[in-house]
Each structure stands twice: as C-alpha cells, then as structure tokens.
Symmetry: none
Subunit: 288 residues, 2 copies
Amino acid sequence: MTSQTTRELLKRAEPDLTRAERQLCATLLHNYPMSGLGSITRLAEKAGVSTPTVVRMVQKLGFSGFPAFQAALRDELEAQISGPIAKHESWAGQAPEEHLLNRFTESVIGNIRQTLAQIDPARFDEVAALLADEGRRLFVTGGRITRTLAEYLFMHLQVIRPGVSLVPATSNAWPHAMLDMGEGDVLVVFDVRRYENTALKMAKLASKRGLKVVLITDQWQSPVAKHAACTFNCRIEAPSAWDSMVVVMLFCETLVAAVENRTWERTKARMSELEELFDATRIFRKFV
Amino acid sequence: MTSQTTRELLKRAEPDLTRAERQLCATLLHNYPMSGLGSITRLAEKAGVSTPTVVRMVQKLGFSGFPAFQAALRDELEAQISGPIAKHESWAGQAPEEHLLNRFTESVIGNIRQTLAQIDPARFDEVAALLADEGRRLFVTGGRITRTLAEYLFMHLQVIRPGVSLVPATSNAWPHAMLDMGEGDVLVVFDVRRYENTALKMAKLASKRGLKVVLITDQWQSPVAKHAACTFNCRIEAPSAWDSMVVVMLFCETLVAAVENRTWERTKARMSELEELFDATRIFRKFV
DNA sequence: CGGACACTGAAACAAATAGTTCAGAGTGGG
DNA sequence: CCCACTCTGAACTATTTGTTTCAGTGTCCG
C-alpha cells in the first residue's frame, strides 16, 4: 500500500520518538490526515507542542520540512479520494474482519449503542447530583466480577469528595461496614449475572435503613432492582465465555465526570492537595 | 445539504463570474476539493490566473479571504472522509448532543477506533499465545489507576489457566514476589501516564531475569517500553479530569478471549470445577 | 550526588503567503 | 473613433508561516 505511506511512516517511527513528538504523532494519527492540512502553527497548538517540535519530527521522518510533509499528505489524500470508495473498514484495519479484535470490538460497540439508547439522561443527572451531595456518605460495593469496577469507581470518587467507602461484598466483613450507613446515605451496588446473594441482602438491609440504593447491572437486571431507587442496565454481551464489562466501565467514568463537574470547586482543592502528597512521596516520574 | 455547500456555491456562482474567475472555478471543480488545499499561489498557477483573481473570487463568494475559503474546504472534506459513521445520531438518543453522556461516549468511541487501527494483530496473537503457554508462569501488575485493571485481567486469567499471580506495584511487597519469577515467565505491566517508578523498576529487573515483559500503556507510552518485549498503546482521552480506561479494558477482555480460545480444552475443565466449588459455597443465586 | 546528555519551547529570524494598489488591456456604446 | 467601463495581473506591502538558535530543565549513568 503506497497510499498510506505517511501514516505507516508515523506509526513505525512512533517508538523512536520523544515525548512531545509522540504526542504530536498521536494527534496526527487521530484524525488522519486532516489535522496535518492546516498550518504548522495550528497543528502545534492542537497537539499541545511547539512548532519547532513539529519541524523536528517531520524532518526525522525524512521530509525536508513541513511543507513537504503536507504535500505528501495531500497527495495521499487525493489518491485515496479519487480511488475506489472506501469500504466500511474493520476496526483493526490490518486484520481480517473475522479476527477476534474486530469481532469483539464490533460487539462492544453494539453494547454501547444499545445501552446508551436506554439510559434516561434525567435519571443519570439525578444520580450524579446524589453522588455529588457531600452531605451523604457514599458506599460502593461489587461482587466477584464487578469488585474491580467498584474499586475503580471508589478510587475516583474518593479523590473527588470525602466520605466514600468501599464495601467488599465478597468478604464477610460487610455487615460491620453497615454500622456506618445511615438515613440519606447512598449505596452503589454493582451486580451482574450470576447475581450474588450478598449483594441482594446488603441492598435489602440498606434500603430498610433509609439509604438510597443505586444499582448498576446487566440487561437482564439483578434482583437487587427491587430495593433500588435507581437502576441502570448495561449490555455486557461479548464473543467470549465471559461477559464484557466495558460498557459498565464507560458508565462509571461518565458518572465520575458528571459528579466531578458538580463538585469542581472543592474537588480542585482536593486534587491539588493530593498532588502535593504525591510529590512528597515521589511515586511518579517527573518526565519520560 | 450543508456538506457540499462550497461546491454548490461555486456551481451556482459560475454564471456570474468573469472569464478568469470562471477559469479558476472550473479548476477548482475539476478535482474538488484537492486543488484548493494548496497555497493561493499554486492554485492561481494551476488555473492560469493571478492571485488577486483568486482573492476577488472567494470574496465574491462570501468568504473573508482565501484562508477562510480553504478552511471551509477542509471542514467539508473532513466531514466527507469520516463519512456516514461519524454522522451518527447522538448515542443517548433522549439527551441533547452536548450532554455529558454523549460527549463522553463520543470520545471513547474515538479512542477505540484509533487504538484498534494501530494494533498489530500479529503482535496481539503472539502475546495471546505467550499468555496461553502454561509452561510459563504469569505475573500481572498495575499502578495506582491501573491496579483494578490488573486485578480484572488477573481474575480472568486465573480461571483460564494455572500459574497466574497478581503483583501489586503499589505495595512494597513486590520484591518478594519477584523471587518466583524465572527465565521464560511473563510479566504483564499496566502503566499509564503519571508513569510510576515502581513499574519501571519492576520491569527492568524482570527483563534482566529473562522474563518477557508485556506492556499495556497509553498513547504517550510509559518508559517501561524500553524493557518490554511487546507494547500496546491505548488511547485514554476523555472529557474529564481523568483519563478513560475503557479502551484498556476492552483490550484486556479481547486478550482474555483470545487466550481462552487457545486453551479451551483445559479451560473448560477448570471452569466446571470452579462451578462445583461455587455450588458448594452457595455464593450465587440459583435463580433470579 | 554531579556531570554529560537529551529534550523542549521561547524568541529571533527567514521565507512564503495573502492582500492591496494601480496601470494597462480589452470591450461595448455612442 | 473615442470615451467610459470592466477586468486583469505586475508589483508592492502586510501578514502569517516555517525554520533556526539557544538556554533552561529534567534524566541517565557512573
């Protein structure tokens, strides 16, 4: 394929690029090749790097300068356009359509579409507001498969606001945790098929204590729904012996973003405090 | 049709144009819109007119100047290229396009598309084979954000085959775990930005001990790549203060499915054994 | 630790592009 | 045949774009 030469050039060169250059490279590949057709200034801005970085990179790729690079992009684009109409390409372009990468992705995209179509945005906003209310304590729980998702949600919420706890339904310690749960608090339950007994019991007890239960479950819906103030169903189908939690995670992340938007003023302070703590512990690298 | 506005603008304006302008117009329409994407000078040359003619004409068409005209062409081209796929309705049909649910999903789909386009299927299959090889012990590790993903992958792999361990990079117990790592074993490292020092150290030591290191990282690539036999980059952009791990999870699940396909005979037996154990512990509900 | 090295972007600089002016060529009507 | 009018491009100016230099910063390695 000569028509994709520059794209492949970018991909192949990527490992040898520096941090800023890789950032630029990613931007270029992101919506290839449109982002490269503007001026060097706008490309640099879009990628968040300086114009010298752009020049250095295209020279590293073998072009004499930015205009030469741009000309190559234009030529390829022209060849592509005048050529046969682009078919619906598979996701992993280099693999045949039946490759697992394509089949799995296809299935997950379908899950996303169907799940989103069913969600009531008003309900979603409602729950976001509930989770953003710092007057309420939050409890998050998940089962065998969903524990990691519960942890993921917990970790983010914990940074966003105070008063968040993770309650492992898989252990037998959860009745102790329930001692802290009071009227008006919120319990987020993850429960997907092979619905778990402990999840049901916990939700039942919690709703009796006056907690608002938010349930995140699959399309067949966990029996916890009976005790939940709000239920969200995510499609979890996949060409595998396992179910796919991708949509559940997408939902969690979106929820986190929504909560964060509502608490931003206070969250900002919490995050910068966290940042200082990280600096003090030197957990992270400063640069690549 | 808004997507062809400029082309139709040209066609409709043609009768009212002067000779030189019509010549220019014809050139533009001839291989629309490529001829308009170069500099004004080259367009003028190609059409055999002067640059003032070009400026006058685009102003006559209602653009403020040549750059504005060119920008319009680029935008149309972009819309045309990304094709009907990008033209989809909002994901959460009931919500306006600017609702976070739609914006977030949009962004994640973009991440998926771009990540998949970059993955080398051969490499993917290679790693799947590596993880399916029961002669090698497997170690999985992740950092602050990615720990949950590491756990998720671990949980699945553990069911699929024996000899899988989770090594928490966030604790200081990992050097102990390293005692068990030997030549030919595999270490799967998750490391996304705010790359962590422990991940790097662990990967370095592991590769020195003769382990194959598989790295799953973001588009900017963790420095662990230097010590990795195989690196996969996932786009993690999201309209949020946080990065999105959805694509990383998609990748993990696909990998799990691929490994499982290779070990299915033995995995089947393991899974039914697990089933019996579950029955014995009565963790799951028999019926909804 | 500390020196060598690599990466990055601000700023200065060079080159092209885009826009303007204006004189001359062409045209049509009186 | 001449005048008034429009159109056109050469030449100039202003602006933006592309390139180079250089100093600051962070990383690596002994």
